[in-house]
Amino acid sequence: MATSETSNIKRLQVRRFKPEENPKSTYLTEETGIWAWMTTVDHKKIGLMYLASILFFFFVGGTLALLLRTELLTPAQSFITADTYNQIFTLHGAIMVFFFLVPSVPAALGNFVLPLQLGCKDVAFPRVNLLSYYIYVIGAVFTLIAIFTGGVDTGWTFYTPYSATTGGNVMMMTLGVFILGFSSILTGVNFIVTIHRLRSPGQTWNKISLFLWSLYATSIIQILATPVLAITLLLLTMERALHIGIFDPALGGDPVLYQHFFWFYSHPAVYIMIVPGFGIVSEIISTFSRKHIFGYWAIALSSLAIAFIGFLVWGHHMFTAGQSSLANMVFSFLTFLVGIPTGIKIFNWVATMYKGSIDMKTPMLYIMAFLFLFMIGGFTGIMLGSLAVDIHLHDTYYVVAHFHYVMMGGMVMAFLGGLHYWWPKMFGKMYNEFWARIACVVIFIGFNLTFLPQFVMGSMGMPRRYFNYLEQFQGYHQASTYGSYILGIGFLIIAAYLLHSLLRGKKAPPNPWGSRAMEWQTSSPPSLHNYEHTPVVINGPYDYHKPMSEFQLGIEGSHNGHGEHQHTETKTVEADK
């Protein structure tokens, strides 16, 4: 309740609202039933629907990967044909990138957490949010149809002229990815508007979490880059369907133009796939070190810097495509520039741990794994950005290992960290800490066993997307395959204890990690409208030197549109508008 108003300072009557311990009414107990879920505009439920969907696709993509690895146990054909192999690696890549990794953190975890971290009831456009989910589903249906009506064997990159001439149902697949793009754009728009418009009273730009900054940077990339992918895929479809010459040299088109278009989206897209992960790392490191994040602005602004410079480096995927030397030089130079903000983040995260009170719980364990693996991904990125060396390494297993270290070692670890971190908030249940740590270690070992040998193979000259290979590489391929089995076991353990947690898990307290971040200041799971009051923010989310009571303030007398409230002592705070 505003008492007086000056130019940009507002006086508010606030009091402490302690989060309820065992909430009777939560978003999970309200509006239940299939129909209510399918038509829900609640960001938390939509987030969970996304979560279920991406986990489904992760499972499918992972199973395909195990098939690929099993085939590669022997140099010649083991149990599937070359054409099947080619279709499987295409699907594995496309599913993992477009259906799992891109929506993983923003659409699933982000949807759930973003309004909670802003203290609002929902995203700015709740119906658009639901729409974006259904667009995702429609895109997925198109892709499934493509798989069952001929399959696609072009690789996730759909390079022309191969994709214009090969059989199978390339059109259906590209249409699927085209449609999917809109889901990504809508999520981006929604997040940007929400962060701009729906911050709590007092929550200035320097008091929003680094997770929000990372989602903000990601949303910018999604909005600016995804339309280019859409246009490219549309042109590709037009070429295939109407024989208009754009990329196919047989029709007078230029195949290298396609690569430019594709990477103009897809390089920024690799940042769509990692920047949200950076946000999770910041949250978890600070919470489990119980310490103020080191270099808030350095981390926040480096995400934006990455988002912008990331648009200017696409040509580093085309160093051997016959580009001019000048273009190659410029792209190589800019590629190194993106490395810098990335490095800055790492240093800031490690510095945050200095003099902290570090609790090696599962989420933190994943983040340690993230830091180690992502560094390897980054350093090998520098290797690939260096022209003379990339000429040798391009399109070999070295590249395959590089991007798995960043996408799986980086983003998937961050995702798992985030999943374990927010799990109690999402479901109000704890998971088995012992098994969770075991799974993390198993995954870490399996991951390295799978992908370290690929660096060696790649350096030795083993090209990627090979169904057969020379015998000299067999040892490395076998190690890699056994590693992938260990990896698979790790994920099965996760599935088992998370299921157990859902059914039998101990009840989670509102703030099991003792975090100062805002989403922990409401009950677990939150009520339908997130908070029973209008939260007021006077501290940043990492201010561990301030008492917990200062993080649970809300406007006195506010009840967020429903319910009664009881009176306690109140105080007055000044909040920046």
Binding site: I340, V350, S357, M375, S386, A388, V389
Partner: protein, 313 residues
Amino acid sequence: MNRLSDFMLPPANSTFAAETDALFNFINVVSLILLIGITVTMIYFAIKYRRKSEDDTTPLITHNSKLEITWSVIPLILVMIVFGWGYNGYLTKTNAPDNAYEIRAIAKSWLWEFHYQTGHVSVNELHVPANRPVKMIISSDDVLHSFYIPEFRVKMDAVPNRYTSVWFEAIEPGEAILYCAEYCGSAHSNMLADVVIHSQEDFETWLETGDAIDDDLSPVELGEQLVQRQGCLACHSTDGSTLQGPTFQGIFGRDRLLTDGSTVTVDENYIRQSIIEPNTQVAEGFAPIMPTYAGSLNDRQIDAIIEYLKTLD
């Protein structure tokens, strides 16, 4: 540290391979130092500052501009070194000396055809002299491919409707492998060629005599060799299994249903036609993907292949 590169890299057999390898080493060493340094710091913090009680308090350290600048500038310097070094090495790799011996490489799904200045053509076998710069002029007849010889540290895409080029100077006579490094479909991983590096004299002799040794062979033996050398076996098996094309086993004299619905008997003319203009008569159930051998096989060689196919039943 050279151990690392010896372990990871294939033998170096071109004049500029050493520079690439040195940079590869440099990046590996610097990365390893940083990786180990940061990881050890992380683990050290995790142990030293582990949570001792739930009431632990931590000092407020929000940022430190001096540190921030240090850890931006040092990596910046490092990557600029890597950039300059890499670009320099790249320039050496792109600018072929004027006196380079030119060879045309034509990529077709799924074989490599090489045309020499003497008019010789070899398939899936690249003959080059050592100690003399060789410039490859690369093109593709269909989709993208990529010309990759790890031992020379060179790679260049083969793009339809456009010429690209790459050069190298081999140091020692010997053998190496050429891979197709750009995904090109079903038999992408079979699209390899042998690189035969001759001493200069041997190379001249090879150019003069070329396939002359073939004169000693009977037609069937020659046919058998050609079928291997010309890359036919990438798509046609001799044991009855179906690859991208129909098997050669029992092919001669068989009735063949074509995609246009007609049926022909496989005879000399049909085989000849299939080699010279493969996509005018395509067997039912297969895609019109076979490259033409017009210009790379002469009449004597085609006759030999026909004789060889007759023996496969």
